[in-house]
Amino acid sequence: MEEDVLTTLKILIIGESGVGKSSLLLRFTEDSFNPDQSITIGVDFKTKKLTTEGNTVRLAIWDTAGQERFRTLTPSYYRDAQGAILVYDVTSKQTFTKLDTWLSELDTFSTKSNIVKMVVGNKIDKDGREVSRDEGIKFARRHATLFIESSAKTQDGVQCAFEELVQKIIQTPGLWESMRSKNTISVDGDNNESEPSCGGWKCSLS
């Protein structure tokens, strides 16, 4: 890991299908937007460096890979995440109502009790709003989460959402500092012929 990077944070994006999760991810990491097709397929996770308030972190942002559609996200998707973005579509009440279910799914599976959550109302560029900003704020307050409205299309609020989330994670004691990195051993496809790379603790094969 580079000198200047504080740590790697795992961030999840969840919410109903079609609310724009993959779009937010691609807008943030690649500054691209595709208005037509559903782009869930082929998006696994993306990494990006982010500097906020003088701290640089690497974000690994995970997409649902479409497994949210029939609620078949695997428990391992949620593991060890420090942050979760819960997305709804401001032009669809139903996606907002479903956030309760997503919150409880997150509570069931997340392995860190102090995971930082952010509720994001997406597609504010679109006409036909069904969920007011106020309703969104109230929901977030009730569940003690961060809140922002965004548009993956116009880029509004996207950068800000990730920055706020990261700031909050960094401020949360114990959420990221003592990552098990001291016990982690990486067994790279490229260099696994070399040294006994696994000091006997944890290793990842990559």
Binding site: T29, E30, I41, G42, V43, D44, F45, K46, T47, K48, K49, L50, T51, A65, G66, Q67, R69, F70, R71, T72, T74, P75, S76, Y77, R79, T111, K112, S113, N114, T172, P173, G174, L175, W176, E177, S178, M179, R180, K182, N183, T184, I185, V187, G189, N192, P196, S197, C198, G199, G200, W201, K202, C203, S204, L205, S206
Partner: protein
């Protein structure tokens, strides 16, 4: 149909066992349209990893037989699973009292910090002990339910084995983390010893004399030198590995190390097979400390979930909690698909668990792989002299009264249990026992103690069950486009046979395509500021 699923697929996979999941991933990976369903709300079925509450529910569910719902559809023939097969039997569980010791939690620190620092912090603080009655244990386990990850089918990977190769090649490895197995142990005549596995272990061990060390080193080198398919090896097919070792001028102790721990063989294993098994072990040593084995963090089920994720990333559609009642079949022709939620899902190929294959295709006479399992929750490590971490212990019966028992002990580092507890898995072949779990009782009497005398661990919870896996070799005459997948073969410690089976099924469906190729250079790292 109620849900907006596409109505036709290249491959419909029914059941989320490991073989099924690998096949789903491999097919989706090369661009095939895949639908993957399971009747359960969770992934894995016989391969599942459960928390403590899930285990309770699973034990409770065993009583009721699932009733198939017939919904006749005209001019289509069903291949129905007429009777539900009892694949799991002789289930029982018990709770016991005991004393648990746990490091004092540093006051008011958040979870992650406590996890990482507890070891350092607790060294100078007195550990807290707590005496539990059986009822206390029951309540305690329930209250800690989510801290347990209990495998129905515990497995290890050889560090240089084929499963690791596939995980790296396909990059499924990036969804996974592993721990090395710290202690390879052998229990003979009630005494537990650390098995010297590598050449450096042999040098430093104190259980072997200098002369023997030489012989053992030479033998380890010889074992590794046999070439696959060589004449030498073929000649060894007719003798047992035990006899082979007896001719090697090494003491009984050392013979046992090699026979039971390094080759993980039985008295009946042929010399050729024993040598191959020893090679798999020895070839994996030296990369991950002195252990050939790694264990998937959080349990076996992680591996199949990782394959399912790969499948989903490449467009595979996932539906849990959904029945696919029957295979829809045209008389003697290929299978057309499955019938699910009142509709037909067409498929070029159907991949199903053997447990779902209609019994007319299953030969119950041919030998099946029946094994006994125990899950124990205990309060101490079985081998206090070992390194902190995972231990793999073999418990042979020298008089051949039973086949060897394999014991895998997981501590809290593995996320299998909370601090202060251990999860111990036992597996043995069912066959020679006159009463169920007779062999386990002997091991338990040797290694554990209800009162903790002699520093032995106490069993707080014991779950016993017997599994009868239908192997795909028992299935015959299915339509050519229906492929059956065996359940977990717990008697072999690694995933090799499941991987081979998955690759075979894949090749049968798509003979010209590569099995789980490396993804094109993904540009995940490209977009940095």
């Amino acid at each position: 149909m109620s849900d907006d699923l596409p109505s036709s697929y290249d491959v419909v996979v029914v059941g989320t066992g490991l073989v099924e999941s690998i096949v789903a991933a491999a097919a989706a990976r090369i661009g095939k349209q895949v639908l993957h369903i399971d009747k359960n709300k969770y992934y894995g079925q016989h391969w599942a990893t459960f928390n403590y509450d899930d285990v309770q529910q699973w034990v409770g569910d065993k009583g009721e037989a699932p009733s198939p719902t017939h919904d006749p559809v005209d001019n289509l023939q069903f291949l129905a699973t007429e009777e539900s097969r009892r694949l799991v039997s002789d289930i029982s569980q018990d709770w016991f009292g005991g004393v648990i010791t746990k490091p004092k939690e540093p006051p008011k620190k958040s979870e992650a910090a406590a996890e990482g620092d507890a070891k350092a912090d607790s060294t100078d603080e007195a550990p807290v002990t707590e005496t539990l009655t059986a009822d206390d244990t029951k309540a305690k386990l329930a209250s800690l339910s989510r801290k347990f990850n209990i495998d129905l089918a515990p497995k290890l990977l050889f560090f240089k084995g084929p499963m690791v190769d596939v995980l790296i090649k396909s990059q499924v490895s990036r969804y996974l983390e592993f721990l090395g197995v710290q202690n390879i142990l052998l229990c003979v005549n009630g005494v537990i010893e650390l098995v010297p596995c590598s050449k450096s272990d042999v040098f430093s061990t104190r259980t072997v004399t200098i002369v023997e060390k030489r012989l053992l080193m030479k033998l380890l080198t010889t074992l590794q030198s046999y070439k696959d398919d060589s004449e030498e090896l073929k000649e060894l097919e007719n003798s047992t590995f035990e006899d082979y070792l007896k001719q090697q001028n090494i003491s009984e102790t050392v013979q046992h190390y090699i026979l039971y721990s390094i080759a993980m063989a039985t008295q009946e294993t042929t010399a050729a097979q024993g040598i191959k098994q020893a090679q798999a072990f020895l070839n994996s040593i030296g990369f991950c400390g002195n252990t050939p084995f790694i264990w998937p963090m959080y349990g076996t089920s992680e591996i199949l979930q990782a394959f399912c994720r790969l499948s989903a990333v490449y467009g595979g559609i996932y539906c849990l909690n959904r029945n696919a009642d029957f295979l829809v079949n045209v008389e003697n022709g290929p299978c057309e698909g499955v019938y699910s939620n009142g509709g037909i899902l067409k498929a070029q190929n159907v991949v199903v668990s053997t447990g779902l294959v209609p019994s007319c295709y299953v030969n119950r006479e041919s030998p099946s792989e029946c094994y006994q399992r125990a899950v124990l929750i205990t309060n101490k490590a079985v081998f206090p002299g070992g390194k902190e971490g995972i231990s793999l212990l073999t418990y042979p019966f020298l008089d051949s009264s039973f086949d060897p028992i394999t014991l895998l002990e997981l501590n809290s580092n593995t996320s299998s249990c909370p601090k202060g507890f251990f999860v111990v898995h036992l597996v043995s072949r069912k066959g020679k026992q006159k009463t169920p779990y007779e062999d386990f009782d002997k091991l338990i009497a040797d290694i554990f103690s209800p009162s903790g005398e002699g520093d032995k661990p106490t069993i707080l919870y014991k779950l016993l069950f017997t599994v009868d896996i239908i192997s795909s070799t028992q299935v015959s005459d299915l339509p050519a486009n229906v492929h059956s997948c065996s359940g977990p073969r717990c008697l072999s410690i690694d995933f090799h046979s499941s991987l081979q089976e998955a690759e075979t099924i894949f090749k049968r469906m798509f003979p010209d395509d590569e099995f789980l190729p490396t993804p094109e250079a993904v540009e995940e790292v490209a977009s940095e500021e």
